[in-house]
Symmetry: C2
Subunit: 213 residues, 2 copies
DNA sequence: GTCTATAGGGAGATAGAC
DNA sequence: GTCTATCTCCCTATAGAC
């Protein structure tokens, strides 16, 4: 075991990283399009331009591959949503939070759908992630909201139900986009549709929670 | 073709109806628990206490069976949600609508999950149903809301985004109940959790849309 | 690391006796 | 209508040559 790698090892590591990224990105598309169970490793291999055996070389089983895809999604997700900054008050923070969540639904629709499919299927991997997220991140946001309530900056609403609602409203534009398209009678959602969603949801939350500042 | 049936035919029809109901009810449970693609006709047969061939006798293919399950779900659903009564004004109507949707999430969780799974998988059957629903029902509700806005009874919000949000918030307690349980740190959701959800969502919608009466 | 060929296991669906 | 046995297909996963 050494940190010094010979050129050959570096090359191998590079090939490995490149192939893994290719497989993960392709899997994300195929899983989102076909559904988790209907997706076959053959489909992924074909779309990635690789023999099926190579996919299994990098990810022993389909389950391993799905978990790798989920892990990658969740890591990128966490980085793209800001934490609350208590000093700025609820208006700025909630507005930013909703905006970022809707942007996520738009720019990362596939990731969002895969997460939703895994969640509705109660995949252990996702449930564990959520349990952990609750302990590390959300409990902090919860305290912040309670501070704002005590300072009279917003109505004393249930923090849990508030988060559940914001997630539901913002994710629905990615997860159930087929339904949204029918409602809006459009073949594809445009940037303006997402902006209107942002505007509507932000208004409902801010006014609905009686946010002062 | 005659309306008069001989006793033998009546018996057969009875057996048929009974078995079909048994299969549909069992399928609803299994589909919701296992996911649509992971469910096998064998699982359904076992849980219903029938040989697999009998399931295929009544529903030629798995796809036919899923569509029959969806059709049954949607028929029961439509009957359990009231239409808007314009004269009563937005407060009563929106409160009742949210309450009925949450009750549905609680009492018919399996149906809700199957619908969500079919929708996220963009099953043609469900998309067609929604398109039809939009034409027959929702366009009427939309007009009603616009009347209320004109009468100054509520703020001029986007009807489409309002419906999308109410659906998202109420359905999430059924479809993603695993996530809700983690958030609320409970092993099972109780009646009081659903009542709190109702209370929170109703408040956000009524205050958020500036509903006067 | 790459790839062909194949093992091994079920799944959906049906034939045909009762 | 019921049920056993079976066909056929295709999926995951791996062995083994290159």
């Amino acid at each position: 075991m050494t940190d010094v790698k010979r050129p050959k090892d570096q090359l191998k590591a590079h090939i490995r990283a490149q192939n893994q990224t290719l497989i993960l990105e392709t899997s994300e598309r195929v899983f989102a399009r076909q559904g988790l169970a209907k997706t076959t490793t053959q489909m992924i291999a074909d779309e990635a331009g690789l023999p099926k055996a190579n996919v299994h070389y990098y990810y022993r089983s389909k389950k391993d591959l799905l978990e790798a895809v989920l892990e990658r999604i969740l890591r990128l997700w966490l980085d793209s949503v800001s934490e609350f900054n208590a000093a700025e008050g609820p208006r700025i923070n909630l507005t930013r939070y909703i905006s970022e969540k809707i942007d996520q639904s738009r720019s990362n629709k596939n990731a969002s759908k895969i997460f939703a499919m895994a969640l509705i299927g109660e995949e252990t991997f996702v449930l564990e992630y959520l349990r952990n997220l609750f302990v590390t991140e959300l409990s902090r946001e919860k305290v912040t909201i309670q501070e704002w309530v005590e300072q009279g900056l917003m109505a004393p609403v249930s923090t849990e139900h508030l988060f559940i609602s914001i997630w539901a409203m913002t994710q629905t534009y990615a997860d159930f986009d087929a339904q949204v398209k029918i409602m809006l009678q459009k073949d594809e959602l445009e940037k303006s549709d997402y902006e209107e969603a942002k505007h509507f949801i932000t208004r409902m939350v801010l006014v609905g929670c009686d946010v002062k500042d």
